[in-house]
């Protein structure tokens, strides 16, 4: 690989990291569904497993904007990225720690995430975002007493 290609790989890893950080920030309260969905391709998929699969920017935006009513507050602490870039395609995994207000109760969430991205017209766009929920527990209980609070109710 030429030195130019090696530098480009490092730059692209950093660019993907920046895009994913922006995705995380736009799904913090007060939520910006348009900005969040704007990081996805038109046919992008957000697979939240038990919380549903949302296909296309419009469906993704609607879900995120709907968070305002369902989850009045949360923050997404995303880090621990492992990013692989291959030309105009990339994959990423990372960790998420969340602090939502669910049903009027403080919660702590432990998640891992994965994504695939494509570089389109100079911008990295998410083609698929997935999550694995390890716990979403009321703050006063902890993940052994109550591992997951139902977020679909």
């Amino acid at each position: 690989m030429s030195i130019e290609d090696r530098i480009r790989t490092l730059e692209e890893i950093e660019a993907v990291r920046r895009v994913l950080a922006a995705v995380g920030a736009t799904c913090d309260a007060p939520y910006d569904g348009a900005a969040f969905a704007g990081h996805f391709t038109e046919d992008g998929v957000m697979d939240l497993m038990e919380m549903g699969v949302y296909t296309g920017r419009a469906a993704i935006q609607e879900f995120i904007d709907g968070m305002r009513a369902r989850v009045p507050f949360t923050m997404h602490y995303w880090d621990g990225y492992a990013i692989d870039v291959d030309g105009a395609e990339a994959t990423a995994t990372w960790y998420g720690f969340e602090t939502p207000n669910l049903n009027g109760t403080a919660h702590l969430g432990g998640l891992t995430h994965d994504a695939t991205l494509k570089k389109i017209e100079g911008c990295w766009m998410v083609t698929r975002l997935g999550q694995q929920l390890h716990f979403m527990t009321p703050y006063d209980k902890g993940w052994v007493r109550q591992r997951v609070t139902d977020q679909t109710a």
Partner: protein
């Protein structure tokens, strides 16, 4: 430093970051001793201090991690806030990391606050950990908190 060296340094930092995240992922996935010990040099030291002991060499590190699931049935290793310094000429590097670890220890929710002081060596083009010094700031029962019980008994 010429361009080649500058690029090598950035590539090394990224490779070491990936090494540590891979270590975290395998730990989350049940602490498989074979997989975890492969991240270390043959003569590596995993230094857990008074709480977890000092384990020298890949075989000892494998044995340590193979035994962990008896007590820790769940953990998420949030590795954050790292700084990595690379000495290309020496083929070595150091790293400092913060770890925030929600765990289930002996069937009780537990929170761990840990920092690492790591040393790495480049062995045949691959960066491996040659030393992990594990600094434990608290490992507390979730329901107690770190003021009441900074360290889990035993």
């Amino acid at each position: 430093m010429d361009l080649e060296e500058r690029v090598q340094r950035l590539e090394a930092i990224e490779a070491i970051r990936r090494l540590k995240i891979a270590y975290a992922r395998v730990a989350d996935d049940g602490y498989d001793g074979d997989r975890i010990s492969a991240f270390f040099t043959e003569d590596a030291v995993w230094d857990g201090g008074e709480s977890f002991g000092v384990h020298r060499g890949r075989a000892a590190i494998k044995a340590l991690f193979d035994g962990i699931p008896e007590q820790i049935s769940f953990a998420l290793h949030y590795m954050v806030g790292h700084t990595i310094d690379v000495d290309l000429a020496a083929g070595s590097a150091t790293g400092h990391w913060y770890l925030w670890a929600p765990m289930t220890i002996n069937n009780a929710a537990t929170l761990g606050a840990i920092t690492y002081d790591d040393e790495y060596r480049n062995i045949a083009g691959a960066w491996l950990a040659s030393r992990m010094q594990v600094n434990i700031h608290f490992i507390t029962p979730y329901e107690d908190g770190w003021v009441k019980t900074p360290m889990l008994p035993g």
